[in-house]
Every structure is written in structure tokens, then in C-alpha cells.
């Protein structure tokens, strides 16, 4: 081992870091009830409380034992919470109360306890996890037989299987384990003295369970479990601190499972092996067209086994095989550095069912030369298992009717062919019919068809005809073979058919995913994505769906659903809330609130949680692995699509924000720079007039005063523009339309602007008669002033400005044209935006940059349009053209 390898392993450091900030878990582990775990825990807790630690007894089961109850005295006991279950009141730990109370240390007795149905979590150890997550230290007690992987062994030792199990991973979470040990004889003594409370199943087998041999074996198990744990802690410490050692390359154990009942035993065996070898393990299942055709019950078996594996800390994977299953498993095993493969021994099957069927276990052990393959058999599974595949009874009478029809048709054909063919050959016609039935309707109709054919052939075609009586031996043999062949071909054909059906199901799902991907690719908003997603998930899984995103209060609320619904009941809502806040599945079939009808799956991307998907079936079933896989694929796609739209929205928002920022800084620059420009002239001129040292001639004084007046008016216009813009922005602009003479309005604008227009020649071309329009004259005058002001500002002194008005159809067209430099084509549409100016920067002409924006606002309020175009033939000059609809004076609006 070289020096560079002596770095702490990141995984080990990460695990340690994750523990920090969490509460610490201490488990008082015992071999059997009655060894004094609770007593030991309370004893230690009292010492802690005496040291001033904030200790709360959340749940302590004293079982009425006086000495234990005495230990509890003086400790703060959290009241239990009543649960109403099937008309009984049961008391459970008040998890929320504990989380609110937030003690430093919580005592939670009996880790393996199962909560009453309807609680937040199925198991108490899940409560404990949540308490730890909240940063509260937990002390708890556990008997060794409740450990998931030891359950089988304890059952074998004691003949008693306990229902309440705890995943081994929980033991690994423990920061400290204290083994509460009592010599076997002493325990038996206590039991005799009635000092031991025994519960449910154990009570039934009490004599059996508490035999000396059993207890000794259990004690050993408990000690070994504690010792293993210490060993694991030591290793973890050595890894985290980079203490060199012969660490093996990360090998893995792979366990392959299918629907066989041995799956759970396989998983437990794999877990034990992996723990002993201190390596990771992977549970895989392989889906293939055959697996698709499995009955629902078998799919549930596989799904349940995979969930068990996941709970026991395995990585789980679903492989998809188009060819031999064994090859697929081996390929995967090589990719993942697997050293050992566990697989169930092939089940005994009737010979016909083995035809054409892969024996995965055999294939694996033959092909896997570079692996250690372990075959595991289920001790309870010695009886041959009839594969139910292909044997599912067809219940549709129409299938049998059609089968009968086919036989009748075959009979008719045989009747006709009887003239040319020898009698034994006629059976081939019936055989063809049977195969047709098998292919179209499956096994049972084909067997029915075979029997019918047999009788028809026997009755109509074998001598003596029209009786069921047979003479010739060879004919009897023919008929027997005929029947066997029918069943075999029927079975094969049926399997072929099932495979085709399954293949079609796969193709349909692929199409569905593809359709979904295509549909959401075009979705512009998160809501569209969610609507498409709810429709697709509903269609794909045949279930009800809801998609939820957080509302204003951060609680998930329904955004899209299939079929339409707008609320969930309280329990479902709290499951959805849990899935959202914790990012874990909740609801049906999960570990949290399993009693609810819905399952909620968080939809998350790498960086954030995006939504919660809820699904429910009317018949209340849970997932098959294939559905699960499909759901995972859909959830992934939803996440990708949502993240895309979210990013788009963020981008849009930041664009809008920067636009607002731009407008604000433009407004600031307008106020600071442009409003100041008229002030420069005003203050300059006024200070000149006021300066006694400056000998100004009379004419000069007049000119100065005029400057002050003109610039004062200009300042007033700027301020007016700013006010107008605010009014336009708030939609408060009210039009006061009156019949107006446009020539009058134009004249007024020119007069008011005479100061600014001093250096330009303004030519009005507004025909008197054509100029009566129904507009707000004040506002239109403002528009014309803004346009003339702009023209004067940009066109060189001494040039001409044309103001024209014409009636074209139902519109009045008014234009202002100058001889200025013109506006580049790319800027023409933007000049009507607020604060937009063609030459940005300090070189801009004075002006608020609001004039054209206000002109547009006013013109559009009149229902008109405004545009810019070159004024002169050579492309220079600017012509601003406004069109105003001619409103009938009798019906103004």
C-alpha cells in the first residue's frame, strides 16, 4: 500500500459527517425479554439526568414491574398519544410532542415495536430515525431476535418467528451498543419468579422459547451482533482516519431474485454474507417478456423482495433482458466488480413446463467461471412448483365459443376432405385448428379445442362412424398422441402468444415514454409539464394521479390531476407533505403512513425538489417492479422537464428583473442628467442677469430672459412627460374624446414649442376640412409636441420639419418628418420603448427618453398605431407616422 492510498476514504468521512448534527443513538441490546434492558437504560438515564442532562422518557414499557417503575420515578415522562383504531383506543408515542419538546436525550423503549395502523410511520425505528434527524439523542432497547437478518436464524433456533423486525442498518446507525447480558440460569430463574413480561407470539411458545439451549444460543447471537458492530466501528474508524490495512478492493455480492418464494431468504442470506465480508451488495431482478406476463401476485413478490433488500441496505437494480437472463446478469456482475453471485436453486417443474425455459441457476453456474456462484434453496419450498405461467385459466366464454367454432370448421373441412384423404390424415386438419385456437386464445381454449376435436374425430371419422367406439389399436394410439400433441403445442403456442402480448406491452410503454418526452419537450410552463405528466402517468399505470407543488405556505397543493380533483383528505395531504418536506416516498406501500390510499413520490432534480407525484389505484394494489420502473422513468422525465422549465422561468425572471433595473437606472439618469440640462441654461442665464459686474446690453438681457423662459417650459414638458408616463403605467389615463380640429391641435403644439423650434422651419400640411377627429385634444397635442421636439432636437438647425395629416380609409394618418440623420433600421421598433435612445451613453441628447414612449401610449389608448420610417428618398431623416381610427362622433366608444 503506497502513501497516497492512506487518505481517509471519502465515503467513510461522509458517513461520519452525516452523523454529525444528528442525534446519537444508543441501543441496549439483549438476547431475550427479561434480561433487564429497560432497567439498565433507566439506570443510566437517571445518572444522566442527575448530571443535568435534559432527559425525557418518550416511551418506557415497565410492564408493571415495580423495580422498573421505581427507576422511572423522577424522570420526565412524555404523555402518550391516543389513537382510535377499530373502535379501540391505543396509546402510542407522541412523536410530534417529542419533537416539539426537543429534549437532549429521549428514551424510546422497544425499538422493534410496530405502530398502530394510521400512525405516521409503520415502525417505531422509523420514528427514532426522525427523532435522530431532529438532533435529539435517543436511547432504545432491542432484543436480538428482532434483527431482520437474524430473524431466520432465531426462528430456526427457537421455532418462534417474530413479526416485528428491525433492519440491520438501524443497528449500524447506532453510535453505541450496550449489551445487556444475564446468565441463562438467572434468566430462567427470573422467568419462573414471574418477573419477565412476555409478549404475543413468544407467550404462546413460552416453554419452548425459554429453554436453556435456546437462551444460550440467543445469548451468543446477541454477543456476536454486538461484537460485529464493534468490529465495524473499528473498521470505520480506521478508514476514516486512513489507518493502513489490507483493505480488499471493493468487491460486491450480487443476489439475483425472481418471483420464486426463495427470494426473501436469498436476500437475507446475501445481507449476512455481505456483512460478514464487509462488502456492498446488489439485489437485481431481470425483467423480460416472460416476466411481463407474470401474474400480479408474483410481481408483488419481486417488488416486496426488492424493497426488503433496499431496507437491508442493498443497492437494487432492475435489468432488462432480451436474450438469455444468465448472460444479462453476468454482464452486469462484471461491470460492477461483483465477486460472488447468489441465486435461488431452480424449482422443480413438470417436464412440459421446462421445455424452452431457461434454467438460470444452471446457466449461471456453467457460464460464470470467474465468479463464485452460490445456490440457495428455500427449505420450505421442496414441493414442485407448477409455474402458473400459461396456466392461467381463460374465463372468457367467447374464447371457448370460438374454439368450438374452429373445431366445427375443421370438422366440416375434414368432411369434405374425407373423399380424398386417408382417415388418419384428417386428424391433421383438427390439429391445425387446435394450433390456431392456441395461438389466438391461449392454453385452456386450445385444450378444450383438442378434446372437442378428439371427440369429433372419434365420432365422425373413425370406424365405426357416428359412434364413440373405436376398433383399431393404431387409431386409439393416434388419438392419444393427438391429444398430447395438442396440449404441448397449445402450451407452446400460448406461451408464444403471451410473449407477444408482453412484448407489445413493453413497446407500448416505450412509446408512452417517448410520447411523454416529446410532449413535455414542447411545454412552456411548469403547469403544462405537470398537466401532461398527470395525464401520462394516469394512462401508463392505469391509476389516479395528482401532481403537487408548494403553495404560498410551502405546503404541496394540487396543480394537475387525473381525473380532476382539487383536494386530498387530511391523511393523504399529510403523506404528500411528508414526501415534499423529507424528499422520501410516503403513503401506500412505503414506510411512512402506509395506511393511506395514495403513494407520494418526490420529484427532484440534482439541485432541488420540484414536485410531488401521487398515485393511487382504485383496487388498492401496490406496484409491480415493471410499473415501478416505469414510474421511476416517468418521474425522471418529469424532473428533467420541470427543471428545464424552471430554469427557463428563472432566466425569464432575471431578464425581467434586469429590464426593470435598466428602466430604473434610466429613470435615474433621466432625472439627474436630462432634467438638469435645462437647469444649466436657466441657472447660467439667471446668474448672468444677476451679476452686477457683467455689463449686459439690453438686447442680451432680453435674450437671457427668453432663454430662462424657454428652458423653464422645456423643464415643464419633461416633468409632464414623467407624470404622463406614470399615469400610462398605472393605466389611469382617461381619454376625454371631443370632436377636434387637428389643424388647431397642430398649431397649438407648434406655438407652445416655438422656443425649441426657433432654429427650424415647421411646415403644416393639414387640410382644414379633413381634420375633424374625435380625440382627446390635450393628449394628441402632447403627442405632436413630443414628435416636433424630437425632430428639432435631432435635425440640424435651419432644416425643415413637415407635419402632415391625411385621411386614408377609416383612419387619420399624421406624420412628422425631419432632415436629421435618421434612425438605423434595427432601432426603429425600439425607439418607442421607455428610456430608449439611439445613441446611448453620455453623448445622448437631452431629453427624458420618454417622449416617444408616451406618444405610443397615448396613440394606442386612442386605438391607433405609431411607427418610424426614413423620411427622405436617400434613407436619411425620420418620419414618425401615427394612425388614429376615425371614431363615429355619435358612438364614441
Amino acid at each position: 500500500m503506497t502513501g497516497s492510498d492512506l487518505r481517509p476514504e471519502p465515503d467513510a468521512l461522509l458517513a461520519q459527517a452525516e452523523k454529525e448534527g444528528r442525534g446519537r443513538l444508543k441501543i441496549f441490546l439483549g438476547a431475550a425479554p427479561g434480561v433487564g434492558k429497560t432497567y439498565a437504560m433507566l439506570e443510566a438515564a437517571r445518572r444522566r439526568a442527575a448530571e443535568g442532562v435534559d432527559v425525557v422518557a418518550a416511551v418506557v414499557e415497565t410492564h408493571g414491574r415495580a423495580d422498573t417503575e421505581a427507576m422511572l420515578a423522577g424522570l420526565e415522562v412524555l404523555p402518550k398519544r391516543p389513537h382510535f383504531y377499530r373502535e379501540r383506543i391505543l396509546h402510542e408515542m407522541d412523536l410530534d410532542g417529542l419533537l416539539m419538546r426537543r429534549p437532549t436525550l429521549a428514551l424510546i423503549d422497544e425499538l422493534a415495536h410496530s405502530n398502530v395502523e394510521g400512525s405516521r410511520h409503520e415502525k417505531r425505528w422509523q420514528d427514532v430515525e426522525e427523532v435522530l434527524d431532529a438532533g435529539i439523542d435517543v436511547w432504545t432497547t432491542l432484543n436480538v431476535q428482532h434483527l431482520e437478518t437474524l430473524n431466520d436464524r432465531v426462528a430456526r433456533i427457537s421455532g418462534v418467528r417474530v413479526r416485528e423486525t428491525v433492519p440491520d442498518a438501524v443497528l449500524e446507525l447506532a453510535d453505541e451498543i450496550e449489551l445487556v447480558d444475564l446468565p441463562t440460569e438467572e434468566l430462567i430463574e427470573r422467568l419462573r419468579a414471574g418477573k419477565v413480561y412476555v409478549q404475543d407470539q413468544i407467550a404462546r411458545a413460552v416453554n419452548n422459547f425459554f429453554s436453556k439451549g435456546n437462551l444460550t444460543a440467543l445469548r451468543e447471537l446477541a454477543m456476536r451482533a454486538a461484537a460485529d458492530r464493534v468490529d465495524a466501528q473499528l473498521q470505520e474508524h480506521m478508514r476514516a482516519n486512513a489507518i493502513g490495512g489490507p483493505w480488499p478492493a471493493q468487491e460486491r455480492i450480487l443476489v439475483a431474485i425472481n418471483e420464486a418464494p426463495v427470494a426473501r431468504a436469498l436476500i437475507r442470506t446475501a445481507k449476512r454474507m455481505a456483512d460478514r465480508a464487509r462488502v456492498g451488495w446488489i439485489a437485481v431482478t431481470v425483467t423480460s417478456p416472460e416476466a411481463e406476463a407474470l401474474p400480479e401476485g408474483d410481481k408483488d413478490t419481486v417488488a416486496g423482495a426488492l424493497r426488503l433488500a433496499e431496507r437491508l441496505g442493498a443497492e437494487i437494480a432492475t435489468l432488462h433482458a432480451s436474450g438469455p437472463v444468465a448472460t444479462e446478469i453476468l454482464d452486469y456482475a462484471r461491470r460492477r466488480n461483483v465477486s460472488r453471485i447468489l441465486v435461488g436453486r431452480a424449482r422443480a417443474r413438470p417436464f412440459w413446463n421446462r421445455l424452452g425455459r431457461e434454467n438460470v441457476a444452471r446457466d449461471l453456474s456453467e457460464a460464470a467461471r470467474d465468479f463464485e456462484v452460490t445456490l440457495v434453496s428455500d427449505p420450505k419450498d421442496e414441493t414442485p412448483v407448477l409455474s402458473r405461467q400459461g396456466w392461467a385459466v381463460e374465463r372468457d366464454p367467447a374464447a371457448y365459443a370460438r374454439a368450438a367454432g374452429v373445431v366445427a370448421l375443421a370438422g366440416a373441412l375434414a368432411w369434405v376432405a374425407d373423399a380424398w384423404l386417408p382417415v388418419p390424415s384428417l386428424s391433421l386438419i383438427f390439429m391445425t385448428g387446435v394450433i390456431v385456437v392456441a395461438v389466438r386464445h391461449g392454453l385452456w381454449p386450445s385444450i378444450a379445442a383438442a378434446c372437442l376435436s378428439f371427440f369429433a374425430y372419434n365420432f365422425f371419422f373413425t370406424d365405426p362412424r357416428n359412434t364413440f367406439f373405436m376398433i383399431r389399436q393404431d387409431q386409439i394410439l393416434t388419438l392419444g398422441l393427438f391429444l398430447v400433441a395438442s396440449v404441448l403445442t397449445g402450451n407452446l403456442a400460448a406461451r408464444l402468444r403471451e410473449r407477444a402480448v408482453a412484448q407489445r406491452a413493453i413497446a407500448e410503454r416505450t412509446n408512452l415514454l417517448y410520447d411523454f418526452a416529446r410532449q413535455v419537450a414542447g411545454a412552456a410552463s411548469s403547469e403544462e409539464v405537470l398537466r401532461a405528466a398527470s395525464a401520462h402517468v394516469g394512462a401508463a399505470l392505469g391509476c389516479e394521479t395528482v401532481l403537487m407543488r408548494p403553495d404560498a405556505f410551502g405546503r404541496p397543493a394540487i396543480v394537475a390531476s387525473e381525473p380532476m380533483r382539487d383536494a386530498l383528505d387530511l391523511r393523504e395531504a399529510s403523506a404528500a407533505d411528508y414526501a415534499w418536506t423529507r424528499g422520501e416516498e410516503a403513503g401506500r406501500g412505503s414506510g411512512t403512513l402506509p395506511a393511506s390510499r395514495w403513494l407520494f413520490v418526490p420529484v427532484s432534480a440534482a439541485s432541488r425538489r420540484l414536485a410531488v407525484l401521487g398515485i393511487a389505484w382504485k383496487d388498492g394494489r401496490t406496484f409491480s417492479p415493471v410499473d415501478r420502473r416505469l414510474l421511476d422513468a416517468l418521474v425522471d422525465q418529469i424532473a428533467v422537464a420541470l427543471e428545464r422549465t424552471e430554469l427557463q422561468r428563472d432566466l425569464e425572471q432575471s431578464r425581467v428583473a434586469s429590464e426593470a433595473e435598466r428602466l430604473r437606472s434610466a429613470l435615474l439618469s433621466s432625472v439627474s442628467h436630462d432634467l438638469r440640462t435645462p437647469l444649466v441654461s436657466i441657472i447660467g442665464a439667471a446668474s448672468s442677469l444677476a451679476d452686477p459686474d457683467l455689463a449686459l446690453p439690453r438686447a442680451a438681457r432680453t435674450e437671457m430672459a427668453e432663454t430662462i423662459r424657454d428652458e423653464g417650459e422645456r423643464l415643464d414638458r419633461y416633468i409632464q412627460n414623467l407624470l404622463d408616463m406614470t399615469r400610462l403605467g398605472y393605466g389611469a389615463l382617461k381619454l376625454k374624446r371631443v370632436p377636434s380640429d387637428l389643424r388647431e391641435i397642430a398649431g397649438g403644439a407648434r406655438h407652445r414649442l416655438r422656443g425649441a423650434l426657433r432654429a427650424h422651419e415647421v411646415v403644416l400640411d393639414v387640410p382644414e376640412g379633413a381634420a375633424a377627429v374625435l380625440v382627446d385634444p390635450l393628449l394628441i397635442e402632447q403627442v405632436l409636441m413630443n414628435l416636433l421636439d424630437n425632430a428639432a432636437k435631432y435635425a440640424p438647425d435651419g432644416t425643415r420639419i413637415d407635419l402632415r395629416a391625411r385621411i386614408i380609409g377609416a383612419q387619420m394618418e399624421v406624420s412628422v418628418a425631419d432632415h436629421g440623420p435618421g434612425i438605423p433600421a434595427h432601432a426603429r421598433a425600439r425607439i418607442f420603448d421607455m428610456f430608449y435612445r439611439v445613441a446611448e451613453g453620455d453623448g445622448q441628447r437631452a431629453g427624458t427618453g420618454l417622449g416617444l414612449a408616451i406618444a405610443r401610449g397615448i396613440v394606442e389608448a386612442h386605438g391607433g398605431t405609431i411607427r418610424a420610417e426614413p423620411a427622405q428618398a436617400d434613407g436619411t431623416g425620420t418620419r414618425i407616422v401615427i394612425t388614429l381610427p376615425l371614431v363615429n362622433p355619435e358612438h364614441p366608444e
Binding site: 442628467h673 447660467g684 446668474s687 457683467l694 446690453p697 442680451a700
Partner: protein, 233 residues
Amino acid sequence: MTAPEARPARILIIDDEAPIRRFLRIALEAEGHHVSEAATGRAGIEAAALTTPEAIVLDLGLPDMDGEAVLRELRQWSAVPVLVLSVRADEGGKVALLDAGAQDYVTKPFGIRELLARLRGLLRDRASEPAQGAALTIADLTIDAAARTVTKAGEPVKLTRKEFDLLWLLASNAGRLVTQSMALEHVWGKAHAEDSQYLRVFIRQLRAKIGDDAGNPRYIFTEPGVGYRFASG
């Protein structure tokens, strides 16, 4: 204090705002100057070449080119004093302009008296400036460059060499802006042109010695972030 009679000069105004040009022209002509006008940077540069003005009033906000660009182009062939009209409140902008060769600036809006005072500072004949070795009297302060002595109301003021150099630089440019970098280069050398904290310390000492109050200055006026200006007369 009466304004000293200014020598008539040819002055070019480069500003795109007609009203500003108008009142400047009237005011400057009333002072006896000959005024020419230009509305764009390009026209301004051409006018500067044709009319050879003795001072230019340059607006920074021109439609066709940045005032700073006009200044740089002018500086390639002309040393004519330039007074910049600026709306920029930022020190960086002013310093950049002064570095680009402007002699002084006025921030808009401004009173005509302020502008005329600045212009007079620029127009004062270089030949009439006090030569090294001459003595300068400003109010009750007398600075003798040859003897390197300073008296205030007859009482001698003891200055270090560097303090005297700094005071002489400011006083000999009375009424004109002395930028921080000008002062630093002149007194401490080019290598210290950026060390404005030196300058602040020396100005403080100098003010203390000549009895000037930064809060109510009589001699040394601070142009924040830009430089200093010695009282003129």
C-alpha cells in the same frame, strides 16, 4: 472683491445644447471675448483648427463623440487651455479628464461667475506667472521663492523643504486646479504619483502651519478626490 479685468480672448464653445451656447455667448461677449460656437465634437475640432481659440469650453455630452475623445484629439496638436463642462459627479471621470489634458472643469449646473473665474485662471498669461525666485503675496501670506521663506502677517512660518515646494506649487497656480497627481509628481517625483495619502498628510501639516482651517479654508481649497486649488488674490 472685484473681478480683475480680463484680457479679451478668442473662446470656442463646444456644446450641443443651443440654450447653453446662447447664454454662454452672451455672457462671454459681455466680458469682451470673441466667441465662436460648435454643436458637435467634429465641428468643434474643425473650429479649433480654423479659429485658433485661446481657450475652449467643452461640453462632455456631445451627440457624435465623447467629450473625452474630443479632448484627446485636440491634445495631439494643440495645448490650448480647455475648460470642461461636466455633469459627471464621479471623481474618476473628472480625474480621467484632467489626465487627458483638461486644465479645469465646472460641474453643471453652474453660476456664470464660477465659469468666468475659471476661464480667467486659464487665460492668465503664462508669461505673467511668477518666475522661480520671485516672491508672491496672497492676502497676509508672503512666499519668497528665492529665500524659500514664508511669512504670515509678518511672522515667519517654518516649513520643511517638501512643505515649501507644495505651497509654492499651489500658490504659483493660484486660482487654477492642481490635481493630486500633479502635486505628487512635482514634489515627490513620478514614482509617487499614486500615493495620495502623502499629499493629504502634507496638506494637513501645511494648513496647520499657515493657519488655514480645512472646514473654512482661506488659502487652500479642496476639490474632493481631484486635487487642490489655491485662493486667487
